[in-house]
Symmetry: C2
Subunit: 290 residues, 2 copies
């Protein structure tokens, strides 16, 4: 039986620290505020939005919802983002993606001010991840993977880490963040030949494949830590990850469950970024404490 | 005996194509021009500068040398770059790095206009490499590695590619370029545990370790293609790569020599970028041909 790396204690530990930082901000008269921009009514967006709003309430971060109809034009969406950029009461912006097909994702995401880009979607944030400069905020999902491993004292230094998936939201930034932690990072994808063999060699396995239970025992080996980023809705409405949990449970050392794993931590990471954005702004305004 | 992947035929093939594109530009009254900015008198800078100038002369690209004394201030260097940004007669800028220690590399490299950044040093160019968007120019050295493999019809799709070194000049962009070609990319570095074992698993091995002959037979296996980016000056003044050539020669399928390998192709890639920059500017000015 593998150790189950539950997300809830990780999220709780982050939230607790954030509540203290929230008080420090309150004492300076600052109310950290997140704007959520949603186009249309996609089910996963609404479900993540609810989770974010619950977390924000718990920590004392305000939320402003900017809800736009499904037919919103690209120009109108860019204008909403520009308004949020110049709105001093907003510290961070969460934009739900993927956007409707007719909207240019690159133009919209890069319209956001880097200092409010708390989910690491702009090129400016991604370059911080790629160069390891630490400037800007990394995307919340790969950071949640790292937070989980940190919380459970899983050392990444020198480890063979394999990431399945090469998206800009999870796979590529995850690999770069592993590299910054001195892991040896490999990125697999749909064109990888004999992916099971590549995955079996990993000590740390981060899976963002987008296919329910795709990763079965042939991909796994004894001693591995498996972080399952996938969230797939089954026919009966239940959720499952990209990893066949039962098969993994009997082989690997540790695994995140779905639900209850990475997804549980992402909202807390987002809120952490909102507070950091508010703190940075306060510093810039008042000058750093001497 | 391994196949020796000589750089010279690769460079010649690029130069030949570029000479044709140079003529097309000449017919439009455009003289593609590269500015070389050098601070101080480092030996490798001068030697690469000479190679670039020879290639430029061969293809018909003009060079303007901006030679600054070793004690040049950061502000003065940034000002020189800004002058080149606004100088319409300049299409590309090559800035020799590393810069003197007292100069902020990030500030200087990002002062360069992305459209003149023919050696892919700005964040703006690097984000194109990281996202695979194809926007901007990639750094010339990792692109030279890819050009060599393309020239010798080495298919990258699905291959296990291992890059040794995680610099922003070679290692990280090389891994991302391999990924864009659908290889499975791994990045190794000084903290990698049992690097020889990781390297032996590779089908494509790109080495940018910075240590003469560090990669011996324990890192190599039958069937590999080895691209040696290292250029090290031996005590007797001769050059050698990061790979122990004699040991590699008897094991692997194909290897680039040092000298005569990657370094031979880099200047041609740079000139290709200068011509592309001039072509893009011509398009923007006159509109694309209909």
């Amino acid at each position: 039986m593998a150790q189950i790396l539950l997300g809830e204690p990780v999220a709780a530990a982050i939230d607790e620290k954030m509540a203290l930082r929230r008080i420090a901000l309150k004492n300076k008269g600052i109310t950290p505020t997140l704007a959520i921009v949603r186009v249309g009514d996609r089910g996963d967006d609404i479900s993540y939005e609810r989770s974010v709003m619950n977390h924000c309430e718990g920590v004392g971060v305000e939320v402003r919802q900017v809800l736009l109809p499904a037919g919103t034009t690209e120009d109108a969406l860019v204008q909403e983002i520009k308004n949020l950029n110049t709105d001093a009461s907003i510290h961070g912006v969460l934009l739900f993606r993927p956007l409707p097909e007719e909207i240019d994702d690159d133009r919209v995401r890069n319209a956001l001010s880097p200092e409010k880009d708390v989910d690491g979607i702009t090129d400016s944030s991604l370059i911080g991840v790629f160069t390891g400069s630490g400037v800007g905020f990394p995307p919340c999902t790969p950071q949640a993977c790292i937070e989980i491993m940190d919380h459970y004292s899983i050392d990444l230094r020198g480890k063979k880490a394999v990431v399945v998936g090469r998206s800009l939201v999870v796979g590529r930034p995850a690999a770069m963040m592993l590299l910054s932690r001195n892991a040896t990072a490999t990125i697999c994808h749909t064109k990888t030949v004999d992916m099971p063999a590549v995955c079996r060699e990993a000590e740390i396995l981060i899976i963002s494949a987008g296919h329910a239970s795709m990763i079965g025992k042939e991909y796994l080996s004894v001693g591995q830590v498996v972080i399952d980023v996938g969230i797939n809705v089954n026919e009966d409405g239940s959720l499952s990850g990209d990893v066949n949990f039962e098969e993994a449970d009997s082989i690997v050392d540790a695994i995140t469950p779905v639900p209850g794993g990475v997804g549980t931590v992402t909202a807390s990471v987002l809120i952490k970024h909102v507070l950091e954005a508010a703190e940075k702004r306060a510093e810039t305004k008042c000058g750093p404490a001497i």
